[in-house]
Amino acid sequence: MSVFHTNLLSTLRNLGKRVTDRLWRLGFASRFLLATLLYSGMTLKRFHLTIREIYFTGVLSLIIILVSGLFVGMVLGLQGYDTLQRYGSSEALGILVALSLVRELGPVVSALLFASRAGSAITAEIGLMKATEQLSAMEMMAVNPIARVVAPRFWAGVISMPILAALFSAMGIFGGYLVGVQLIGVDEGSFWSQMQASVDFREDILNGVIKSFVFGILVSWIAVFEGYDCEPTAEGVSGATTRTVVTSSLAILSADFVLTALMFRGV
């Protein structure tokens, strides 16, 4: 066999190995999610564990979510006004700000922020626990690490995400109001009334909440799995943290496309 053939063969072999590796990890991740859900009964009975994690993932993310929500809303107000006033319909600014925040930006941007603020922290924490053999020590003491460490962090993420997304949207609308009404001088009455006339509670707001709930499951799942699965070395933990942010960002954006296609097909 020539050198060329050997090269080709090894390239193909590497490709195949990467594909089977990914499939293997996906299968393991699904089994891991199932185990997490199965052991959640025990966790929910000792709810203070989850509350402690909600403090670390949710409450400590408040500042970044509120501040970025305010600024996103303010930018939407400026940009939206600039475009809308060309068509003489600057009163529709309220609709533009509210719909884009409630439907898309609120759930998606807060989930991206959540993945990088809280998801990476969860991965690093669980990864370090694994590297310092705390998880094995728990197993030695007949404490199930999935019920004690993984499930509370998973549920804390799932609970925090919709709350953070709702706060992001509310804050963004307030930012749009500040810029649009207070700074630029769009009529306050038409800003709110046009918004109320075209934002539907079930179609827009509830669908946004459902989206953020799905993103919460995705981000928390990826974060706890990457932490649990990481190589127990310093390098392994850092790699797992990076993978959490990259994978969950991609998962959020692709899931957002699928959910949007399902929800808003335009009657």
């Binding site: 203070h48 509350i51 402690r52 909600i54 403090y55 949710g58 409450v59 408040l62 509210a98 409630v102 925090s160 919709p162 709350i163 953070l164 709702a166 706060l167 949207s169 509310a170 804050m171 609308i173 709110w192 918004m195 109320q196 006339a197 934002v199 539907d200 509670f201 827009d204 707001i205 909440v209 009657v267």
Partner: protein, 157 residues
């Protein structure tokens, strides 16, 4: 950290989350306004509904009195059948005129009711007899263009 402080912070977090959801529902959305109380159903047939959509408002004298609930196609008469839920407080004479209007030049389309003079009122499930279709802008423009073209020809002769 003390467990009580932790609980306090998480309680605060959940509370402001719920408050913002309430703000979205009441101030941003129209949850408070969508409840019209008891309604009754009316139908109207149109030759052309233009861009009318489900959930479009039904207005009389500019006031919202109901919403479009369904739009169907009648294959026998080749007409659109528009079903509407009208607020139970309001009753309209039997010769009420239903039109499809547009709010503003490019705004959304809605059904307008112009009350007639009949003594008898429309009952639930009845069909409005007198209707006027949506104005299709393309038709108007093309009519205008053809008229203009034929005028020009006359002048040449």
């Amino acid at each position: 950290m003390n467990r009580l402080t932790l609980d306090l912070w998480v309680g605060f977090f959940v509370a402001i989350g719920l408050a913002s959801l309430l703000f979205l529902a009441l101030k941003v959305g129209n949850l408070s306004g969508s409840n019209m109380g008891p309604t009754y159903r009316l139908e109207a047939r149109f030759d052309n509904i233009g861009g009318l959509k489900i959930r479009a408002p039904v207005k009389s004298a500019g006031v919202v009195v109901g919403r479009v609930t369904d739009i169907q196609f009648d294959a026998e008469r080749y007409q659109a059948v528009v079903g509407m839920n009208v607020n139970g407080q309001y009753h309209f004479p039997r010769d009420t005129f239903a039109t499809i209007n547009t709010s503003g030049l490019l705004g959304e389309q809605y059904v307008g009711f112009e009350a007639g003079g009949d003594e008898a009122m429309l009952k639930a499930g009845e069909t409005l007899k007198k209707t006027q279709s949506a104005v299709v802008l393309e038709k108007l423009i093309s009519q205008f263009m053809f008229n203009k073209a034929s005028e020009d020809k006359k002048e040449e002769k």
